[in-house]
Amino acid sequence: MLNKVPEVTLAFWIIKILSTTVGETGADYLAVHVGLGTLVTDVITLTLLLLSLSAQFAAREYIPWRYWLAVVLISVVGTQITDFLTDELEVSLYVSTAAFAVCLAGVFAIWYSIERTLSIHSIDTTRREAFYWLAILFTFALGTAAGDLATEALSMGFTIGVLAFGALIAATYVAYRLGAGEVLTFWIAYILTRPLGASLGDLLSQSQNYGGLGLGTIVTSIVFLAVIVALVTWVSVTGFDRPAPAGPAECG
């Protein structure tokens, strides 16, 4: 089996950040505006995610639309898990943030103890793929909880959020340039792009009364979705982010 996840390029991060926003606003739209309610929406998205992940696991190589559809849906479900804990079970965001951090660390620990690598350049067995997607699910849940915690505990609005999470990502990049591990910095950036994407979406969609640009959630989602589709089509046609064949000795 070939490596089934894309090279990490500019397109990768743009699609990832935009997916975050579309995931959240999409779930919100179904629950509130379409009036399906939280429970029905959660069941629908979970079913779609399982179907999408089956398609991703069944593929023999990296197929952009299958991969990115799974990311968008996992973004929705990761957000819903946190929202369910916060809104329905009234779990404190401090508790859920800590719990998801522990879960994510646990996934990495087990992943490493079995595979002896956490490299994202060798997701080439079903077991590694399972670890990869489980880690991604927890990064979205953790990113949602930590982002909400920043809003609640620090009263941090989306404008400050864009700047703060952007600055943290820049700091992660600096750490990477100074020699911090590629795998570590990738996953930190993966977590931080969740609240960045949410803040960016809010900045565009929120009314000007609240300091946003006032595009509304529908226009923002359609614009973001169009950019995602265009980029995924582009990487599919050009093979721009197709993973390089990984040598068996490569380590993370």
Binding site: L10, A167, A170, Y176, A189, S207, Y210
Partner: protein
């Protein structure tokens, strides 16, 4: 790796996009003295409408009208909540109780009136 270099570009893009509205978000409407959350009059007006419908005995009309509150309140969450999270939650819970009362399979008129009155009180009397 080129990866991380792009991250910085993204962060800068994000920062550049955010800067022009910074000034706006710090400015609060001068007349919004009644709540740390700012001007809630648009939301309050829907509650008043809904309560008037309940008072007339039109529970179906009330259920339809409060949907506007649910949708607009939800849309404004990212803008309002950071201003005063605990106050936002108090109102959010009160809205949930009113929604639950109006959407009960056999809505109880007295319960609808009570939850809507409480919602108005909570909107009008923010925590000190």
């Amino acid at each position: 790796m080129r990866t991380a270099r792009y991250l910085v570009a993204l962060a800068l893009l994000g920062g550049a996009a955010a800067t022009p509205v910074l000034a706006v978000s710090w400015t609060r409407p001068a007349l919004a003295a009644q709540s740390q959350l700012g001007d809630l009059s648009a939301f309050r007006a829907v509650v008043v409408d809904t309560k008037a419908l309940v008072d007339k005995g039109d529970l179906v009309g009330a259920r339809t009208r409060i949907k506007d509150l649910e949708a607009s309140w939800d849309d404004a969450e990212a803008g309002l909540k950071p201003r005063a999270p605990s106050e936002w939650h108090r109102i959010d819970k009160a809205i949930d109780r009113a929604l639950a009362a109006l959407r009960a399979s056999t809505p109880d008129r007295a319960n609808c009136e009570r939850t809507l009155t409480e919602l108005l009180q909570i909107m009008d009397q923010p925590a000190a």
